[in-house]
Amino acid sequence: MIVLGIEGTAWNLSASLVDDDEVLCEASSAYIPASGGIHPREAAQHVANNIAGVIRQVLSSTDPRLIEGVAFSQGPGLGPCLRIVGTAARALSMRLGVPLVGVNHCIAHIEVGRWKTHLVDPIVLYVSGANSQVLSYRQQRYRILGETLDIGIGNCLDKFARSAGLPHPGGPKVERLAQESRNYLPMPYVVKGMDFSFSGIVTAATEALKSASLEEICYSFQETAFSMLVEVSERALSQMDKSDLLLAGGVGANKRLQEMLSVMCAQRGARFSAPKSEYLQDNGAMIAYTGLLMLRHGIQTPIASSGANASFRPDEVEVLWIETH
């Protein structure tokens, strides 16, 4: 089965064709803000200007008659972007005469990770700009065990980076600067059960700009925030008696975070895995592949219920494609 997927929830517009075994092709167009962070209206304009191009590119790589479904990111994400993606997906599914399937963006991050790492039933640490969650599959659903009580880790990094005058996206720049220091400045470490909070770190780090070096602050910021994420991941492994951990989402590309998770897993005899960066960041293949899983299990999205869902929660999705023992 070949499925075409379109991702466009925030910064990366991407279309892809996948079959059951591999990604056949992908075309992407990233929105890079001229200054500051992601502006919803500009992001939507970017999607509107480039969506025909990325779709045309993937369509030209195959005989369109082989495509058996059109999947699209239905949410969560920026409403204006989601609406354009949805409109394009509806038009394409009608034009090709194939089923439409609306995909939850968070679930897609998890599924592409499971696909590429071959972990069957892991605890998932999902970290992106707006989202930071620890999830675990149980009885047809990904259950949210813990999540941020305020902002996502990526937005937290970007927010600090902006106040430090670093251009968007701030995460990779903070990661590089952090490597230049080993001097730890204490920052608010807030873990409540498996929930956590990052807003205190942003405030403390921004305040520290007056008196400490940027390298020191970036180092301390990462060590504090990531330790919180690793701690809750370990709690989840322990609480659910699972022994595999999957990292998903764009912030997962951070090498220090990967290293810490891998050390934690090694220390407790668990297995850690993350897909390559191209499948950690937002990508069309994850939408196409999740759509394929859904279509294989008889799930389609009628036009009437294909509207954008900006606050779509992963635990709203019935997951029929996982077999655990």
Binding site: G75, P76, G77, L78, G79, A130, N131, S132, S136, R138, Q139, R143, I144, L145, G146, E147, T148, L149, D150, I151, G152, Y184, P186, Y189, V191, K192, G193, M194, D195, E223, T224, S227, V230, E231, E234, R235, L237, S238, Q239, M240, E259, M260, L261, V263, M264, Q267, R268, A310, S311, F312, R313
Partner: protein
């Protein structure tokens, strides 16, 4: 290890040795964290756990008696019984509600009230693992505490709706502002969302 040692349990952050009538909980170093942060967290949590757990007990909340504190380890009374998640039903959920209300009424937030951090013993619910606890009487802090409990219950038990009602019945028996807490929990659930 001497011959009285019965069992060693490795939790997420500590190694727990059941030893006769006592339990020794040792917070082990975590290699993933830098030493400064790791040592600080383990020391603070150990100290806080011993102190707040004693205070909770003094306020009438069932918790194990603290026998000794030493650096990163606490020796405490051993409570015989299963963790509540393995005996969960509406009666137990209601008892948990009453215990959490008693704790909150004493101005204490547990910080990690999951079903694995409670022991069911002789018809009573004992709270353990006070490592993330704090003194706080605010509606916000109490709401987060109840939210954490609901979240783990919902993730692990299919009878969640009925258990939640039973918990609230127990909580509201002596905490007259339970309705405000429910409102707070709903508000907290709405945060941390995409936009």
């Amino acid at each position: 290890m001497d011959r009285d040692t019965l069992e060693v349990v490795t939790g997420a952050e500590a190694v727990v040795v059941l030893h006769g009538h006592s339990v020794v909980k040792q917070r082990v170093p975590k290699d993933y964290r830098i030493a400064e942060l790791d040592t600080k967290l383990r020391r603070e949590r150990t100290r806080l756990e011993a102190k707040i757990q004693s205070d909770a007990r003094r306020a009438g909340v069932p918790t194990p008696i603290i026998e000794a504190v030493d650096g990163f380890s606490i020796t405490m009374e051993r409570i015989e019984g299963p963790p509540v998640h393995s005996v969960m039903n509406e009666v137990v959920a209601e008892a948990i509600g009453a215990v959490l209300c008693a704790l909150h009424s004493a101005g204490i937030i547990h910080g990690d009230p999951t079903t694995r951090n409670m022991i069911f013993s002789a018809g009573r619910v004992y709270l353990i693992d006070f490592g993330l606890s704090s003194y706080d009487r605010s509606l916000e802090a109490r709401g987060v505490d109840v939210h954490v409990f609901f979240q783990t219950l919902e993730a692990t038990d299919d009878r969640f709706p009925a258990l939640k009602d039973a918990f609230l019945a127990g909580y509201s028996r002596n905490c007259s502002d339970a309705a405000l807490i429910v409102e707070k929990v709903n508000e907290i659930k709405e945060r941390g969302r995409y936009l």
